[in-house]
């Protein structure tokens, strides 16, 4: 039996889905978190019938007329896959809007059970809903639920009702009269009558002590958190707290323990192998695999704490306010405040960040945001930043901080360029965002979200990254004739010969050596690879001490082995941060942009941006510190001039286009 969960955005569908199935899908307190349908079997403890029930979580829809991708999925699912029962999750705090959709669902001829969710919030607001009367009016069962609640959450009763109605026929309470579906005016008229009908039901079943349009404590919070001048400093302080907790305080504390385990494991394996194992195998196992992966696992707690805190932020309802306060800045560069949500999520991982762009209705804004979100340094890039800050900059805090500010600058610049190229600089776009009620974030949900991230990270470290490190190790140990390369002839290895052509291209950026080029290339598979590969190719696994996130005794050694100046190191760091993301994130960009042209332009733009930023950093930095320009200045300058020239040409073309059209669109 198939049960579809439907309802307005942010009515609590996914939370209910997780409670029903025991799954851990992502939830957040703003409209439009779920963007794809998800399936899961209903827990045995809830399902007392003999047959299995499959619940399908659908994205939120305000009504059945399709105009965005979320609603289209709902429509297609209901119409094509004919589920046996629909559970309509109704936000009890906003009956009059939610029931509009309910009456439409009741016309589909599929049995409906209404889950009156968030009923706990109604108790707080002293709103009383007559459940029995509502069920009579709608001619379908209504069950009160608290999907965030513990044992007494109404879910058992809900599933029992689902079992009871599955074979029955329900009569639609509202029947549109002689309506012509082809004629927009006719549909609209009918919809107005539908609203009138809904209002009449609400008037009968709901007693409200507190009217919706009077000021509440929530509005007071809004006035502070989204204040014209206080809003941005508060947001900055919140983000600073997220980072200092995850990167400086709690994260490293847990990292200590993990690194201890890895060190122990390294010693254990070393001891077990003894001296009889071939040095080649022992090097592969110890430095290639344990070292490479171990260098990374030490960062896991930092990333986990970051995810935990971001989940708390998403859960409490603050994100919608952040969209409001940043709207005026994004508007200047042709985006809207909604673009900030993908970017904040992108601090954890670019993939869910890019996927979150789906709530942006305006196509250009959505594509632009998907293109720019990966510039936000994600959790996987943190180890690279920490490594370089440790090796080359005496672990200075400004390195990390600068990267985030630079990322914001690049995003704004990128958006300003793209809006000009598309010729939409004059287009108006409206901003409307539902402000969900604040709530105390759930520690349990945040912990679940964190653990699922950690699991994904460990799996990745244990599979792709482990494999990459092993391959990199083998490729640099052997030459093309599969002979072990000599001590002093490392540049004859397979890896060196593959990476060398790329290294030439990077000469003007200050790091034209094959080892760094190889690390950049493996970085496209997963950004965590950069540190692992560097550790393997330079044989510096013993120096990378993740315990304190610095290289206690090896810092100068590592810098020496790498043979880079600080400026070149900074340039390399920036190139890794601001060039295209990993393949998985590029895949997500492809899915959200829905255009091969945009994807190509996006990746090209990211590559060009990384190159230009690294070039300027290296050449200007070298000029300032040494008085002479860096290596490969002239060819690099030509390349950068061509890139910038091409962008300027596109902007000019876009400006001409902008003159000939004036578009108004919704954001």
């Amino acid at each position: 039996m198939k049960i579809a969960l439907t309802g307005n955005p942010n009515s609590g569908k996914t939370t209910l889905f997780n409670a029903l199935t025991g799954k851990i899908e992502k939830v957040g307190n703003w409209a439009g978190v779920t963007i794809d349908k998800k399936e899961g079997a209903i827990k045995k403890s809830l399902n007392k019938t003999s047959q299995t029930m499959i619940a399908v979580d659908l994205p939120g829809a305000y009504s059945m007329s399709p105009f965005t991708s979320e609603e289209t999925i709902t429509n297609e699912f209901v119409n094509n896959e004919s589920p046996n029962v629909l559970i309509n999750i109704v936000d009890a705090t906003n009956l009059s809007r939610s029931l509009f959709f309910t009456t439409q669902l009741l016309e589909l001829g599929i049995p409906v059970v209404v889950a009156l969710n968030k009923s706990d919030l109604n108790i707080k607001k002293k709103t009383i809903i007559d459940i029995q009367k509502l069920a009579d009016e709608l001619k379908c069962p209504v069950v009160e639920t608290v999907s965030t609640g513990g044992s007494n959450n109404g879910l058992k009763k809900l599933i029992k009702e689902v079992g009871l109605v599955s074979e029955s026929k329900q009569e639609a309470p509202f029947k549109p009269l002689n309506i012509n579906m082809e004629d927009k005016e006719s549909v609209k008229e009918s919809d107005i009558r539908r609203y009138e009908f809904v209002n009449s039901i609400v008037a009968k079943v709901e007693i409200k002590k507190v009217r919706a349009n009077i000021q509440t404590k929530q509005d007071m919070f809004d006035r502070i958190l989204a204040h014209k001048w206080l809003g941005i400093p508060i947001f900055a302080a919140v983000m600073w707290m997220v980072f200092s907790l995850s990167q400086t305080y709690i994260g490293p504390l847990i990292a200590d323990v993990l690194v201890g385990w890895i060190d122990g494991f390294y010693d254990l394996v070393e001891g077990l192998m003894g001296d009889n194992v071939s040095p080649l195998l022992s090097a592969l196992l110890l430095d290639g695999i344990i070292g490479g992966v171990g260098a990374l696992v030490g960062f896991l707690p930092l990333i986990m704490v970051l995810f935990f805190l971001l989940a708390l932020l998403e859960d409490c309802g603050y994100m919608a306010r952040v969209a409001v306060i940043t709207d005026r800045f994004f508007k200047r560069v042709g985006l809207s405040g909604k673009s900030i949500i993908p970017m904040v999520i992108g601090l954890g991982c670019a993939i869910p960040g890019v996927m979150a762009t789906r709530t942006i209705k305006n196509e250009r804004q959505r594509r632009t945001t998907a293109m720019l979100t990966p510039f936000m340094p994600c959790g996987a890039k943190l180890p690279v930043v920490a490594l370089f800050a440790g090796v080359f900059f005496n672990n200075a805090a400004w390195v990390g901080t600068m990267m985030y500010f630079l990322a914001i600058g690049i995003i704004l610049l990128g958006a300003a360029i793209i809006v000009r190229i598309t010729g939409e600089k004059n287009s108006r776009s409206y901003f409307i965002m539902e402000l969900p009620e604040y709530r105390f974030p759930s520690i349990k949900r945040a912990a679940i979200s964190m653990l699922s991230r950690a699991k994904a990270f460990i799996i990745k470290a244990g599979t792709i990254i482990l494999l990459c490190n092993a391959i990199i190790h083998i490729m640099q140990t052997f030459n093309w004739r599969f002979e072990v390369v000599a001590e002093n002839a490392a540049n004859t290895s397979i890896l060196a010969s593959i990476a060398s052509p790329f290294a030439i291209l990077m000469l003007p950026l200050g790091f034209g050596v094959w080892q760094l080029a190889a690390a950049t290339i493996t970085g496209f598979i997963a950004k965590e690879n950069v540190v692992g590969t560097l550790a393997v190719v330079y044989g510096i696994t013993n120096f990378i001490d993740t315990e304190e996130l610095v290289l206690i005794n090896g810092a100068t050694n590592v810098a020496g082995v790498m043979g880079l100046t600080s400026i070149a190191a900074l340039s390399y760091l920036m190139f890794n941060l601001f060039s295209p993301p990993c393949f998985a994130a590029i895949g997500a960009m492809n899915a959200e942009m829905e255009s091969g042209k945009w994807l190509l332009a996006g990746v090209g733009f990211q590559l060009g941006m990384g190159y230009v930023v690294a070039f300027i950093t290296y050449q200007v930095g070298t000029l300032i510190t040494t008085g002479v320009i860096g290596s490969g200045f002239i060819p690099g300058l030509i390349a950068v001039t061509v890139m910038i020239g091409y962008v300027l040409y596109l902007i000019k073309k876009g400006d001409i286009k902008a003159k000939t059209k004036k578009v108004i669109r919704t954001s």
Binding site: S65, Y195, N213, H227, D327, K361, R428, L435, I664
Partner: protein, 95 residues
């Protein structure tokens, strides 16, 4: 150029103050905490109109401004709060 624009602006303000009946035409001129009725949604953007309709924001419905934040307005339609920008507030005609 600037002078001319300023003059035009002053002229408009002058006209408005002289004609109190026309003072409040759209939501951006509305008072906080006062309930208005929506008269029309004035935009060429049909998609926006449809979207607002599904939120319950259409002719005849009540709308109240709760507060003005940054350059945005917090409004309440039906039982939900929304943040809208100035452009959208100007498109919502009230009486």
């Amino acid at each position: 150029m600037d002078v001319i624009m300023n003059n035009e602006y002053m002229l408009n303000t002058f006209n408005n103050t002289n004609n109190p009946k026309n003072l409040i035409t759209n939501l951006s001129q509305a008072e906080i905490n006062k309930e208005y009725k929506i008269k029309d949604i004035q935009t060429d953007d049909e998609e926006l109109k449809d979207f607002l309709f599904t939120l319950g924001c259409y002719k005849g419905e009540a709308i109240t401004i709760i507060s003005v934040l940054v350059d945005n307005y917090v409004i309440t339609v039906k039982d939900a709060r929304y943040s809208i920008d100035n452009d959208l507030a100007e498109a919502i005609i009230i009486n």
